[in-house]
Symmetry: C2
Subunit: 205 residues, 2 copies
Amino acid sequence: MQFSSSLLENAVNEFSKLPGIGKKTALRLALHLLKQDTKEVTHFSEVIAKMRSEIKFCQRCFNVADGDICSICSNSMRKHDVICVVESIRDVIAIESTQQFNGTYHVLNGIISPLDGVGPDQLNIESLIQRVQKEKTEELIFALNPNIQGDTTIYYIQKKLQPLLIRITTIARGIAFGGELEYADEMTLARSLQNRLPVEKYVSH
Amino acid sequence: MQFSSSLLENAVNEFSKLPGIGKKTALRLALHLLKQDTKEVTHFSEVIAKMRSEIKFCQRCFNVADGDICSICSNSMRKHDVICVVESIRDVIAIESTQQFNGTYHVLNGIISPLDGVGPDQLNIESLIQRVQKEKTEELIFALNPNIQGDTTIYYIQKKLQPLLIRITTIARGIAFGGELEYADEMTLARSLQNRLPVEKYVSH
């Protein structure tokens, strides 16, 4: 692409570094901002820069936070003896959006994946073990993506926690609500059969 | 969406104001920036803000420019008596990318569209007429989108320029290269037949 302004060219280059944003989309975004008030664009850029420089990570669960402890961990209305283990901050937001979970979280910040060179030491696993021991956790719920890396991570953490008397569960895997049986993959369908539920339990939900 | 950090929430809100960016994509962009160095994100935000506050529009053709006159208008190697009339800056970039045009541009900054309340006075049409008279333009090439608004705009400007002896052309409309006849709409196919070319001319291109 040829630009007649280096200011525009630089902005397009910056936008196209973002994931999923190609050169054409980057140009569209830059030209959109060009049409806005200078004040609004300044505000946009300040909010982004401020987020990166001032955001903190909760010292307890590693979720994003405005202070040392996130708003979920500092909420006394939530069950602090139930910890939901997730891969990333995005999963916390997804689960919070369901409004069905009243416990706390622990963000691993990744998943064990030897092929990608990610081992347990690079993740927030040691802090989870310590937290479970210190806080007398009752239940640990794994809400990891259903794939080999997720299963490996569950297995590893479970092994580490074996000496402790603690309930360890994982979110249900099965046919998605609204999904069609014939399009489900064999693995999902097989697991869904193995983990079948009594109908009363299903309906009461 | 529920966020445990207002800094993140504000950033997601700002991103989702951009065209074609929904809440989920905005979150992905914000979380991506969170993983980057603070220095890089500061640079990102500065480049965007600088683009908006320092960019200028060429006083001659209304293209984006770093100074008063854009790099195309100030280039003495280009044919200044051939003006290509386009709707927006994006079209200048698209045509420049073909590397087939060696004239100059005139950015109308929109198109006549009475339904959207856009009349000739809101566009850079008067400046085009004055420019053509002053600069002794030889040819005016319309490169507007092929729709009713585009045709109306061409008709309006052509009427205004009728007293002057000047060649007025429009880019060819027809079946796109690589396109298939059976999928072309009737209007395109009909015009493409009407404006058929001698084969020698087509091959020489």
